[in-house]
């Protein structure tokens, strides 16, 4: 006989409390089926207000031109591209959790993947705004698409990493969206079947594409998930790799360095996980999902944060070291005078980045700290401030002093419309997240059920007998004999 559902009791359970399949459905669907709370309305309306201000700021920029922003000839990229890279980075955790952690068989991903994937999609939507509106003459935006045209030799520049970005990000967005939505289908069907109101039945009926839960459906669903996971895995790496190429292919001191691709990816995962923490620490509390997104989940994600934060730290120090070691005066000047020098105009931002991204996450080496919710929430915000400043440091401190001091930029600070645009993307992000948390189950019901009998607290406690068996008895009874 072989035992398929066993997990060591040494591992903490991933679903707490006395749950059965029905209870799982009840718990997770409850917030979707209940009327939105006052708190939800307040949050939602604030988000919409921010979104409106963002739209207004963009209107200002489109109407009067990029001159509405404080970019200049030397500092041609400022808040816009910083925000773009920041949002793309945040959009990495979802697909990492759903694809790569799936391949690594990390059971805890089931508690957080749905919300993380949704967050990914919203973050990429925000990111995409920046390069589009940065174009200035946005009505010509379709020029980035390579298609047969009557413009003669005017063809997109395939040598440019900026164009690679267009392909990388649109591919990533499409695959992430498909992955997220196909995962939602069984849960949407559950909501449809439970719906008591006509409009709900219709809405979820259309949204669930006629899912019946037949074996055939599940089979295809599983096959599709595997194909999408396979496609997403390289995409997690490729998107931020290509974003890093935007900088690293150039010969700008501070930008051209070979470690950029993997280090950008690590940083993206770092900030993505921080954003997941920000959202889930609140969501689990407000929606009463503490038994599904347990302290254990928070703990594990904080481990990912300390790991990726340290990887990023090694990369920062490597960059700094090689800038010195290379003996290239321009490279060393960029680091020494524009970043490390605290008295330089933007020196403070370098230290802010180092403090938030490298030093502060080190607190998560301690188990007590990893399991402290308030601290986790605070740290998750701090990390994303740090990651914003990482991009700011890379972009602005590398370009604001050109080779000729006569071209040195004046102190670049954003206008209200640049800030407004950024705040607007927060509005977009949270508007989407509020709608998502209201109309969709924030935890993948079907996937939780998949791990329930292996990692659920009540099921695990019933495994005592197996746990107490000696190795030889266990092996005799349960080991798979695959004939070598």
């Amino acid at each position: 006989m072989s035992l398929l559902r066993y997990e060591s009791q040494v591992r903490p359970p991933l679903v707490e409390g006395n749950k059965d399949y029905h209870q799982v459905t009840e718990d997770i669907c409850r917030p979707v089926e209940a009327k939105p709370s006052k708190l939800w309305w307040i949050g939602f309306l604030i988000s919409v207000a921010f979104l409106c201000f963002g739209i207004f700021s963009v209107c200002m920029e489109v109407t009067y031109g990029v001159g509405q922003w404080n970019l200049n000839k030397t500092t041609g990229w400022g808040w816009d591209i910083t925000n773009f890279v920041w949002w793309v980075g945040i959009g990495h955790a979802g697909t990492l959790i759903s694809a790569i952690l799936l391949l690594f068989r990390q059971g805890w991903r089931t508690g957080v993947n749905r919300a993380a994937e949704a967050m990914t999609i919203f973050a990429v939507m925000c990111a995409g705004q920046f390069p589009i509106w940065h174009m200035g003459r946005v009505w010509d935006a379709f020029f980035v698409l390579p298609y047969a045209n009557t413009r003669g030799p005017l063809w997109v520049n395939f040598n440019s990493p900026l164009l690679w970005d267009v392909f990388a990000i649109s591919t990533y967005f499409t695959v992430s969206l498909l992955f997220w939505y196909s995962g939602l289908l069984p849960d949407l069907a559950t909501l449809r079947d439970r719906a008591k109101l006509k409009w709900r039945k219709m809405f979820y009926g259309i949204a669930s594409f006629g899912w019946t839960g037949s074996t055939k459906h599940w089979q295809r669903h599983e096959a599709l998930s595997l194909v999408l996971a396979g496609l997403s895995t390289p995409l997690v790496l490729s998107v931020h790799t290509i974003v890093s190429f935007d900088f690293a292919t150039s010969v700008v001191p501070g930008w051209h360095t070979t470690i950029f691709p993997p280090y950008f990816v690590a940083g993206a995962i770092f900030s993505g996980f921080a954003m997941v923490q920000t959202l889930l620490v609140v969501t689990r509390r407000v929606l009463g999902l503490e038994e599904y997104i347990t302290i254990e989940h928070i703990d594990v994600m904080n481990k990912v944060i300390v790991l990726t934060g340290s990887i990023v730290g090694i990369a920062y120090l490597t960059e700094l070291f090689i800038a010195w070691y290379s003996h290239v005066p321009y490279e060393w000047f960029a680091f020494k005078e524009n970043r490390v020098n605290l008295n330089s105009p933007y020196g403070w931002s370098y230290y802010l980045m180092m403090g938030c991204n490298v030093l502060s996450p080190q607190i998560f080496w301690f188990r007590k700290m990893r399991r402290n919710l308030l601290l986790t929430f605070f740290m998750s915000i701090l990390v994303n401030i740090g990651m914003w400043f990482e991009r700011f440091v890379i972009i602005v401190t590398s370009v604001y002093r050109d080779y000729l001091p006569s071209s040195w930029s004046t102190y670049y600070r954003p206008t209200i419309w640049e800030v407004g645009f950024y705040l607007g993307t927060f509005g977009l992000f949270f508007t989407c997240y509020f709608l998502f948390s209201k109309f969709f189950p924030v935890i993948a019901v079907a996937e939780i059920k998949h791990i329930l009998k292996r990692s659920g607290e009540n099921y695990k406690s019933k495994m005592d007998v197996v746990e107490k068996e000696t190795f030889d008895d266990f092996a005799h009874e349960h080991a798979h004999d695959h004939g070598a």
Binding site: L237, A248, T257, P261, L317, F471, H478
Partner: protein
């Protein structure tokens, strides 16, 4: 079900093979010494032939040390991630890590001999006269100096060996008797702490400073921030290939009855994934340097991409990327012993060749590839050492850590 074979007994043929391989290595070293030092010549020529000789020892010892050390990394990483699946062959990984102090000592002696001998062709930054007339090397002497190199090298090898030993002895401590769940939790905690200590050391050595010192400083004027991570990726794939080979050998001789195709499939996936990861770093480093086209950086790829080393350079790409991605793509190939054995050997050779092109153009000559057969012979000798030491280590502990808290998960493991 076959009877449990608890401890490994070294078969005679295995022993003879290991000794024969070591003998080949020694013969190769002697032959290399004779051919390089036979003709006398001017002091400059002598230095050149000395460099040829030592470069071979440097490449082989550093490569095989980093590969064995990658196995400690594998243990530490799976410990931190609570990976239960690999417990059924964990003792095999542990046995390989016994090679770290042995190969480490050989490597340390070779590195320090190169550093402190009067021949400065390999590490030309170690020659004060050269440094005095070279602004760049003079600038770098805060890092590239004999004292720092030697201290850090010794510290690194000792630290890897000690933590490796600690992780092994923690594993051995479970052999005493079955652990309760509470004891299991405490045990996992101690294990996690030591694995974390190792990871910190790993970050400070393999992921940063050690490849700069041992390898990148051969081309002392050249620099690449990617270099250390690239070296890590290379040695890690090879480390997984080494584990796979030992597991398959032991399966074929009737040991490791609880390690199944499921586990091998996962090892195959690791080889597949990290071969692609290696290629990712390979491509990123090459492409960024090519694209920016800065002479100080492109100079490194001149002999490799276009010059005498170009056949090796592209062969490395074929072996380490094209072969794994095509062959390991299918599920069946990762579950087939013959394919796995062939591919693991190929990957070990491919990354050996990668290290070859990292070391030789800078230390011997960018214009011609020396007779690689000698170096291959030296490499065979190191393989012999690893076979010998690992087998000895395997005999000293039960083949399965029966009381490890996660062992049962490994028994019912399915990919």
């Amino acid at each position: 079900m076959a009877s449990t074979r608890d401890t490994f007994q070294v078969p005679k043929r295995y022993n003879s093979l290991a000794i024969a391989l070591m003998a080949i290595g020694i013969i190769a070293i002697i032959a290399l010494y004779i051919t390089t030092h036979g003709s006398g010549g001017t002091p400059a020529e002598k230095h050149q032939s000395d460099a040829r000789f030592w470069a071979s020892l440097l490449q082989n010892s550093v490569y095989f040390l980093l590969v064995c050390n990658a196995v400690i990394f594998f243990i530490a990483a799976t410990t931190l991630a609570w990976g239960g699946w690999q417990m059924s062959f964990r003792r095999v990984s542990e046995a390989i890590t016994v090679c770290v102090p042995v190969v480490g000592t050989i490597c340390g002696v070779i590195l320090l001999t190169i550093l402190f001998s009067s021949n400065h062709i390999i590490y030309h930054w170690s020659d004060n006269n050269v440094v005095a007339n070279d602004a760049a090397l003079d600038w770098k002497s805060g890092f590239l100096n004999k004292g720092f190199f030697a201290t850090w090298t010794v510290f690194t090898i000792v630290a890897w060996s000690l933590v490796g030993w600690k992780l092994r002895s923690l594993s051995r401590s479970t052999d005493a008797g079955k652990l309760t769940v509470e004891e299991g939790k405490r045990y996992m905690w101690t294990n996690t702490v030591w694995a974390a200590i190792y990871i910190v050391i790993f970050a400070l050595t393999v992921m940063s400073s050690i490849p700069w010192f041992w390898l990148m400083s051969i081309d002392a004027h050249w620099y690449s921030t990617m270099y250390s991570w690239y070296t890590f990726a290379s040695s890690f794939v090879a480390g997984i290939a080494l584990i796979t080979l030992f597991v398959i050998y032991l399966k074929n001789t009737g040991y490791l009855e609880f390690t199944t195709k499921e586990h091998l499939h996962d090892l195959g996936k690791f080889q597949f994934a990290f071969s692609i990861f290696w290629t990712y770093l390979w491509f990123a480093q090459l492409m960024l340097i090519w694209y920016a086209n800065i002479p100080e950086e492109t100079v490194y790829f001149k002999p490799r991409y276009f010059g005498a080393y170009s056949p090796i350079f592209w062969m490395v790409f074929m072996i380490n990327f094209v072969a794994p991605i095509l062959i390991y793509m299918s599920r069946d190939s990762k579950r087939n012993y013959a394919t796995l054995t062939f591919m693991s050997m190929l990957i070990l050779f491919g990354h050996w060749l990668d290290f070859y092109q990292m070391v030789f153009p800078g230390s011997v000559s960018p214009d011609h590839v020396p007779t690689i057969l000698y170096d291959f012979g030296v490499g065979i000798g190191f393989v012999g050492v690893i076979l010998f030491v690992t087998a000895r280590a395997l005999t000293k502990a039960p083949m399965i850590a029966k009381n490890h808290p996660l062992i049962k998960e490994s028994l019912i493991h399915h990919t």
